[in-house]
Amino acid sequence: MNDQARFPDRTTALVLVLVVLMPLVMPATLATQILIFAIATLSVILLFGSVGLLSFGQGLYLGAGAYVAGLLLRDVHIGLLPAILAATLATTVLAALLGAIIVRRRDIYFVMLTLAFAQMAYFAALALKDFTGGENGLSGLPRNFGISGLPIASPLAFYGLTGVLFSLAFLLVQRLNASPVGSVLVAIRDNEARTAAIGYNVAIYKLAAFAIAGGIVGLAGALHAAFLGFVPPTDIELEMSQRLVVMGLIGGVGSPAGSLIGAAFYILVSEGLSQVWARWMALIALLIIAIVLYLPGGLWSIGARLSAAAKREKHHG
């Protein structure tokens, strides 16, 4: 059974160590931002890497998660954790509802439907000013949180919360990939028609993956709202959906670890370059071209290639 992903594996350990080390080598707020986007990118990787579904609309669920959490925190005053949980559940349900329509189509039509819904949601968010704040965004979120008595006031404490939630989402995706469900998802990715012919209800599996991915990216949205103390309309913009796909491609969709690598790379490069050169996105575009042409497994696959080469070396030496 060498096709099946294993769990836990070396990747699990490596990613968890990185989560612990990150705040030691960079400001906690930067590390938090990376992990929030890593969670969001995890949803792209789950859909594209495991099932072969390219969603150009994950920004919709990120934005929806941010608005739901934002409104609950500001107007209902429920705690941080309940708000995050509620946003995650709400976006899972939303993705299941929209997914029921979206998964009916394949290939380019699937992509176009995810795109169309995302665009629609952006204009809906702008139109529903009373709830979302329209173009000004949703502001006035509380800044001080606590979880069962523990204050989440410092950037490092918030990083701790984000780190735990990222790790849970990451472990969930890894576990899923290395399970019987994961084996069916891979089968759908490799040969959808045959998967139906051997007796699997392909549409239900796709829908389940779409809903779980929606919940994961919604979780990222909720954290983003709490982190910023504000929900910018850019959270639900089409550019957000695009950014998540780009992070996935850069990091590598072949492994859930690609989410962390892709998000870290993108955010660190944008932090570093945006000061120097306003058109830094052009470099990201060049990088995407290079990766698509020469490194389809993304940056994560460099590590895999190196370790394979090292093994060969050992055998020969």
Binding site: F7, P180, S183, R194
Partner: protein
């Protein structure tokens, strides 16, 4: 034909203006080998697709063990006891031979396909059954080879193995011998003959000597219609069949 396992009545399929299939009827008895023959373009695969749920028929009725399945999706027909193989090899080339068959066996254990908290390797019974199938196909030694790297003959056998994973009561084989070398033809022929003990076989095949020697019933199609049906002896001596088809091959 009250005791037919699979029965199709007056099945018609239309592609735009082209009537690919009209008034096709067939009744497959349990534990028989029923061959479907006819020249290329006769509509055999179209009929297979209608029976197995790949293409819904525009007219007619299909029942499996008395249960109407005309509009049932393909995956549900597998649960009802029908499996199929494909004319063009339709496997998971990137996965190992073992995983190809395991997925098919796993599909039968419906709840197993929804388990996400542990590895598939925990189900020793599914792995054992997978191994037994690979061994029956004679490709157990290549269990861990990627399916796309198997020889053509082994891929054709794997194709059948994936259908057998469903442990069906009827298996529909679309040209299982296509492109096989002589050794594989013999092996596959005896495999199909053995299957009759456990299930009914509906077979599309162009190799006439094999069809005539292993079939219990033969239905002959031409231009989307049935032109003859009967035992191999009847078909061999049917003048209309000889004219339409056998003349060149027999």
């Amino acid at each position: 034909m009250a005791d037919a396992l699979l029965s199709a009545e007056e099945v018609g399929v239309r592609f735009g203006d082209f009537q690919a299939l009209s008034g096709m009827s067939i009744a497959v008895e349990p534990h028989t080998i029923h061959a479907l023959i006819g020249p290329n373009g006769a509509g055999k695969t179209t009929f297979f697709n209608a029976i197995t749920g790949v293409r819904r028929p525009d007219t007619g009725r299909i029942t499996l063990e008395g249960r109407p399945i005309t509009r049932a999706p393909a995956y549900r027909r597998v649960r009802y006891g029908m499996a199929r193989s494909f004319q063009v090899t339709n496997i998971y080339p990137a996965l190992t031979a073992c995983e190809n068959v395991r997925l098919a066996v796993q599909a039968r254990h419906r709840r197993e396909g929804w388990i996400f908290w542990r590895s598939p390797a925990a189900r020793a019974d599914i792995l054992d059954e997978t191994g037994a199938l690979l061994s029956q196909l004679g490709i157990l030694d290549r269990a861990n080879t990627r399916a796309g790297e198997l020889s053509h003959g082994a891929q054709r056998l794997l194709e059948i193995g994936m259908a057998l994973g469903a442990n069906p009561r009827i298996i529909c084989l679309d040209e299982p011998l296509a492109g096989m070398g002589i050794d594989d033809v013999h092996r596959t022929k005896s495999l199909i003959t053995d299957l009759r003990k456990r299930m009914a076989v509906l077979l599309i095949e162009h190799n006439m000597s094999v069809v005539l020697s292993i079939s219990d019933q033969i239905t002959v199609m031409s231009q989307g219609r049935k032109i003859a049906a009967g035992t191999p002896d009847v078909i061999r001596n049917d003048p209309s069949v000889r004219a339409a088809y056998l003349g060149s091959a027999a």
